[in-house]
């Protein structure tokens, strides 16, 4: 009996040793969140306590566990909780803030960025994190051509070179740039990877493994105990098509200002629910604690919430991304036809007439149940550089916005002035030469997009334009876009905080400059100014100057009517009241958080 007791005691001690890992005391270099401190982004947050499990749903399975070879958010929503970088985008304000770096300096000439790392911080397996891990991640993973890594593109400087990363000592590194390029700060949010676990899989460092091995490392079949990170959570369970379980990283360096280590929740479980209707049912059934809802869910959830103990937040915050129609100014160019139509499409007056026929208010009301905002700018509304603000990062006033109000009469008079009138009396407007004009609108099979296009088709027809809307396969649509064989195409693009992340789209030679690919060889004045403004905005660390350049950039693009923007859904959220700090969910927290939720600050109130 005594023996058994001793054995049980030993077992208890040894099991405590496993779970007791972590720091003995708050590290001197911990990242402290100023919870509830007025004047900070966290002033509306509450202090919490550790414990509990947070349940949410996500729509797809992860495709692997390797953050740098992942190409989709279904994977990075987990790896972003497992890894953190030198810098991060603030979950609430979207500004660039320090994360694993405790601070950084920019040299006088703006070409050398020195980062000071947090000392005494460990990976989740207890190995210290040093400058070598930063060098490994940057030089041997991200910049390594053998690694299939999308993050490399964000590191390219305007002259085509990459920043040179050097180690000063174990806790100091410098990035040397060939030219001043502020958007590099957004790119230096890249997640850190543990050298001691992964160097053996990089062909460059270990010639024994074949080239490309790193791309097949940390896949779904890797034992989860091999996964090591420095973020708030590590993956500890995965049941395919069912759930992902993450548990707190005992060595995470984030603390609240009361000295409690983050994250508050011990566990974070993401149920994989591929059907949104089922997600909503699971939320109503109390199986998941939070739910990023669709406009059509609101009439059901709003009345039910108080009785079931959940709150539905309806915000006016727009989400990231743009939705647009593209009037192909190169229409007919690939096969040398439609010359007159092309000339018409290239006339900005004609595009203005079409813009005046876009009834964005009706789209918001009828398609998005009123839960959307009209768009005019290529930059997503949550970005601090959105041109509708009255200064850098300031409140949105839309004073500087460029709107083409819905005005069919004005549109008609513009069309008349262009000679686009009904010449043959068939009820449809014709080209100035008298040849018939037909407009084709294509979109892919998506209920929201189809609804937009039907509204547009109605208004175009009402104005006398012979318009046909057709739903085509997404890949066919993308094919039309890249080969300039479409007419008017309705699609959308993802967006981010930094305008230069969209340079692939808006630079005259950009790969997605689909409204006029020919602008690359034959740019007009506006195209050249847009190219210049993108460079100017990037070429300064002064955010006010950058904002001024980017504002002009947005206004020029809005006037140019290449992509003509429609509207974007606003961010709406439903959450059980027992989840503390869930009210901080916002579209801005998506880059670093999960499903809009500021995961590491949520806590169990029940």
């Amino acid at each position: 009996m005594k023996k058994a007791l001793i054995l049980a005691g030993l077992l208890l001690v040894s099991s405590l040793a496993v779970f007791g890992q972590g720091y003995d005391a708050q590290p001197a270099d911990a990242l402290v969140f100023p919870i509830g401190v007025a004047g900070t982004p966290y002033e509306n947050a509450e202090l919490g306590t550790q414990g509990g499990t947070l349940y949410e749903a996500s729509i797809e399975d992860p495709r692997g566990w390797n953050n740098h070879t992942a190409h989709e958010t279904s994977t990075t929503q987990y790896t972003n909780l497992m890894h953190r970088g030198l810098l991060n985008l603030d979950h609430i304000s979207g500004a660039v803030v320090v994360d694993f770096a405790k601070g950084y300096d920019i040299s006088e000439d703006g070409l050398v960025l020195t980062f000071y790392l947090r000392e005494g911080i460990m990976w989740s397996d207890g190995t210290p994190i040093t400058a070598d891990d930063v060098l490994f991640t940057y030089n041997d993973v991200i910049l390594n051509e053998d690694v299939d890594c999308n993050a490399r593109d964000g590191q390219i400087l305007p002259d085509g070179t990459f920043p040179i990363l050097e180690k000063v000592d174990d806790y100091t590194v410098t990035f040397t740039l060939s030219t001043i390029y502020r958007p590099i700060l957004n790119s230096l949010t890249f997640n850190l990877m543990p050298k001691h676990k992964l160097a053996q899989f990089v062909h460059k460092l270990n010639p024994d493994v074949p080239a490309g091995t790193f791309n097949e490392t940390w896949t779904l079949d890797t034992p989860l105990s091999e996964l090591v990170g420095n973020g708030p959570y590590v993956v500890t369970g995965y049941e395919v098509n069912v759930s992902v379980t993450m548990e707190r990283n005992p060595y995470y360096y984030g603390y609240d200002n009361a000295g409690t280590q983050l994250p508050y929740y011990d566990k974070f479980v993401s149920l994989i629910v591929s059907n949104q209707d089922v997600s909503m049912l699971k939320f109503r059934n109390g199986e998941i604690d939070v739910y990023a809802l669709r406009p059509e869910d609101i009439p059901i959830l709003l009345p039910e919430g108080p009785a079931k103990g959940y709150t539905v937040d309806i915000t006016d915050k727009a989400t990231y991304g743009t939705t647009w129609i593209m009037i192909n100014q190169d229409v007919g160019l690939p096969d040398g036809t439609n010359e007159e139509k092309r000339e018409l499409y290239r006339n900005v007056e004609f595009r203005e007439a079409l813009a005046h026929l876009l009834d964005k208010d009706t789209m918001v009301q009828n398609v998005l149940n009123g839960l959307g905002t009209a768009q005019w700018s290529p930059i997503s509304v949550p970005s601090p550089f959105y041109g509708g603000r009255d200064f850098y990062g300031g409140p949105i006033t839309e004073a500087d916005a460029v709107w083409f109000e819905y005005d069919p009469a004005l549109a008609a008079s513009k069309l008349d002035a262009l000679g686009v009138v009904d010449a043959d009396g068939d009820g449809w407007r014709d080209l100035p030469s008298g040849d018939p004009l037909t407009i084709e609108i294509n979109a892919n099979d998506n209920t929201v997009r189809i609804a937009y296009c039907l509204i547009i088709q109605d208004d175009f027809r009402e104005a006398g334009l012979n318009t046909n809307f057709q739903v085509v396969d997404f890949n066919t649509l993308v094919g039309q876009l890249f080969s300039s064989t479409g007419d008017i195409i309705q699609l959308g693009l993802t967006g981010g905080d930094e305008p230069n992340s969209g340079k692939n789209v808006y630079r005259s030679c950009g790969a997605l400059h689909a409204y006029r690919f020919s602008a690359c060889e034959d740019p007009d004045e506006v195209d050249l100014r847009i190219d210049e403004l993108l460079n100017l905005g990037a070429n300064t660390f002064n955010l006010d100057d950058a904002f001024a350049y980017y504002k002009e950039y947005q206004q020029l693009l809005a006037h140019q009517l290449g992509y003509v923007y429609l509207c974007q859904q606003t961010f709406n959220y439903a959450r059980y009241d027992k989840v503390g700090n869930a009210h901080l969910a916002s579209p801005t927290s998506t880059p670093g958080g999960n499903n809009g939720l500021l995961t590491e600050l949520c806590f169990d109130k029940s």
Binding site: E239, L281, K282, N475, G502, N504, A511
Partner: protein, 329 residues
């Protein structure tokens, strides 16, 4: 019989070759490819895209790609998924997918047959009576409601009308979250059953109507045959006439159906599995189709074709076994 099976197996080889060539061509005829979504990502440059195209071998001419694929398959290498970067079959069968697919498929199959055959017999022996119309009606109802919709309605009823959440019960998936880490127990098995019954109901009702009609029709045909009349006229009990003579002969065509349902066991019910959150091989294959993950599509197709062919052979074999009149030599 043995020579027959060997002959059939040898026939499979050219057949699978043709199947693979046709499906490879069809994949290539689909607009776009695995990288189409990446092309629409503003943050990916053309250089990176071109590198990826080369990495996946998508820049080579069609016939070269097919040749390389075929060469590797002959050597037993079905390739690596573009998407998960794991070998093709690991991607398809990952985790407990294969196990759950087999469990769900076999239990549903057995349940469907156990219920549908007696109903079909009952329906035939009570032809045009009100009870025949009632069972036929419900059979058709099950057949005509789309499975995904029926599944959604079922979940909605459970959550909103029966409010199962108040009793701590979840809907969809395999288990309630509180049992995720729990050791196996009676309560846990009970919870599995709670999550499985909607699948049985949804898939079962969908497949039952066809079987009922088939059984009913076959039996009705058989019941008019002279030997049934002979059996009756020599004074056998009606029960013996039906079960010993008529049903045994009426069931032959159903054996073929059973054999052909083999590939459906592994690949079927995708949409129901998606709505009810069940891990199945079909879902992995469906995801590969949506993402144009070519190696997985091709590997999966070969696998399902092989299953279909094996199912055919088994059906022939079973038929010979239940019907002594059939010989393959």
């Amino acid at each position: 019989m043995l020579t027959y099976i060997i002959r059939r197996t040898l026939y499979m080889i050219p057949l699978l070759l043709v199947v693979s060539l046709i499906s490879f061509s069809l994949i290539k005829l689909m607009p776009g490819d695995y990288l189409t979504t990446a092309r629409m990502n503003p943050q990916i440059t053309e250089e990176t895209l071109n590198q990826q195209i080369a990495r996946y071998g998508l820049d080579r001419p069609f016939i070269v790609q097919y040749w390389f694929w075929l060469k590797n398959v002959v050597q037993g290498d079905f390739g690596t998924s573009f998407d998960t970067r794991m070998p093709v079959f690991k991607t398809l069968f990952f985790g407990s997918r294969l196990m759950w697919t087999v469990i769900i498929a076999t239990t549903t199959l057995v349940l469907t047959w156990i219920i549908a055959i007696p109903i079909g017999i009952y329906s035939a022996t009570h032809q045009y009576k009100p009870s025949d119309h009632v069972v036929t009606f419900f059979g058709f109802l099950g057949l005509s409601i789309p499975n995904f919709f029926f599944a959604l309605v079922l979940l909605w009823l459970l959550v909103v009308i029966f409010r199962v959440g108040d009793y701590g019960l979840g809907v969809g998936g395999l288990l309630d979250t509180r049992y995720f880490d729990a050791p196996m127990s009676l309560a846990k098995i009970g919870n599995y059953l709670w999550h499985l019954w909607p699948i049985w109901v949804v898939i079962g009702t969908g497949g039952m109507a066809g079987l009922i009609r088939l059984m009913r029709g076959n039996l009705l045909d058989t019941l008019t045959l002279p030997y049934v009349q002979t059996a009756r006229s020599k004074g056998l009990k009606e029960r013996v006439v039906i079960y010993k003579h008529a049903v045994r002969n009426a069931i032959n065509p159903l054996v073929t159906v059973l054999g052909l349902s083999l590939p459906g066991l592994v690949g079927g019910s995708v949409i129901t599995a998606i709505v009810l959150n069940i891990p199945t091989v079909g879902r992995a294959y469906f995801a590969a189709l949506q993402r144009q993950d070519e190696p997985v599509i091709m590997g999966g197709l070969l696998f399902f074709s092989l299953f279909l062919l094996i199912g055919n052979v088994i059906a022939d074999f079973l038929l010979a076994w239940v019907d002594p009149r059939i010989r393959y030599d």
